[in-house]
Symmetry: C2
Amino acid sequence: MTLLDGRKVSNDIKNEIASEVDQMRARGEKVPHLAAVIVGNDGASLTYVASKVKACERVGFESTMVRLPHTTSELELLQKIKELNTNESIDGFIIQLPLPPQINTQKVLMTVDPSKDVDGFHPENFGKMALDMSTFIPATPFGILELLERYKVETNGKHTVVIGRSHIVGRPMSILMGRKGWPGNSTVTLTHSHTKNIEEITVQADIIISALGVPNFLKAEMVKDGAVIIDVGITRVPDDNHPKGYVITGDVDFENVSKKASFITPVPGGVGPMTIAMLLKNTLIAREQRKNKD
Amino acid sequence: MTLLDGRKVSNDIKNEIASEVDQMRARGEKVPHLAAVIVGNDGASLTYVASKVKACERVGFESTMVRLPHTTSELELLQKIKELNTNESIDGFIIQLPLPPQINTQKVLMTVDPSKDVDGFHPENFGKMALDMSTFIPATPFGILELLERYKVETNGKHTVVIGRSHIVGRPMSILMGRKGWPGNSTVTLTHSHTKNIEEITVQADIIISALGVPNFLKAEMVKDGAVIIDVGITRVPDDNHPKGYVITGDVDFENVSKKASFITPVPGGVGPMTIAMLLKNTLIAREQRKNKD
């Protein structure tokens, strides 16, 4: 069994990006600049954005954090997005979700210039991905592809079963694993809350990507010997024995499933750390595309 | 076994659209106007476009056929598309494919204003479909959904197997069958040229949608009793006994598979006739959206 070590790979990627940024700076070029917009004071959102800003510093990107009060109107937020769209210094930006209830999230995401949409959430970018055109791939699916690639996991002709049809993981992952090329060329089954007898499907899978958010959902008897297991679940389970009062738990019963798996991601330390690394990668790509346009 | 009669259903839809157009006219409103652009003299393309124009006449739409020589440059075609984008009289338009080799098809499709893209081929519209937003659904997948709906075929919790991952049928169909709602909420497996042991997958399917283009590919032993069979294949197979010298043949061995199926589309007369009806439906929707914008 090989552990798909997201902590190590994400560090490798950050080092590679940092080295590219060093070279940009040495050539006197503008370095990538990521902006993050956060509306309100949600604790988890502030933590996420802070870690994105910190990651930018680590690789030598410029970063800007735009903090708006929770009373911000939709119009005010749209105005801010339009400023970021036209601000030549900004290569890419993200809107941290969730947004307060007075703001229509869909309208907000539609307003982001697709060429700066490093989260890959704009329908034009999502459609390009589904149509095999080059675009920004959402960070978590992009991170999973990168893990499969760096560990040389065979996907061609394999049966991949994706659990969960969210817009940010399950749906895009099901599309990406079935695209031409590698990682891809899988036969893909997308399962979700309406799927019946899911264990009859997962037990056939060569590769399982679980993005359900139900702790320890995937048991050893649902998995065949030698399967590749990607666990995207991150649920906080209360635990008095831990200083934080909870433990981060994946969708997979790691202790038992890992005995059957050929490759498996741990939680934490698997897919999670890859997400920020791939956001940085998308921002680097955005900078290179803007440079080529100049 | 119930035949999914696309000829009948498409006629019903055209009658419904014609009646709506009559009412628009009676109220003194502008009626829908579809334009079709064709570059060159490909016989099959000319036939398709002619049948689309004829369908427009049948339901009372205005229609415009734009014929350009096969020597048309990419720039000239893009210029023509920009004219159609801004022409207030046109509600929707299509570019008949394939285009001559000097023209980049992707660039052309990207230039169509998404609000007039009644083929649903623009990445923004494709992405909206994949993200469960309202949009133009490509005509063939839209036609299949309509057939399932009018015959009240249960899709919720069923296992749908799609054969073929083309951008115009297989890929969108796999997304649509897994979306929330009805028709939808299926567990969906997308199979393609790299799929191994496809018969082991099809035999598990409650619903099979075949868009492969290989005559009589799907045999009775690949299908379970009571399955729903949607045949999107349209291949011309030479046949001296027919006045045209060929017969249109589907992907499904109809004679034997139909004995096991609960519902099945014939070829011809199944999915084929639905496509033009749904193009008209998309054009009607485009007109209504433009009216609401005025």
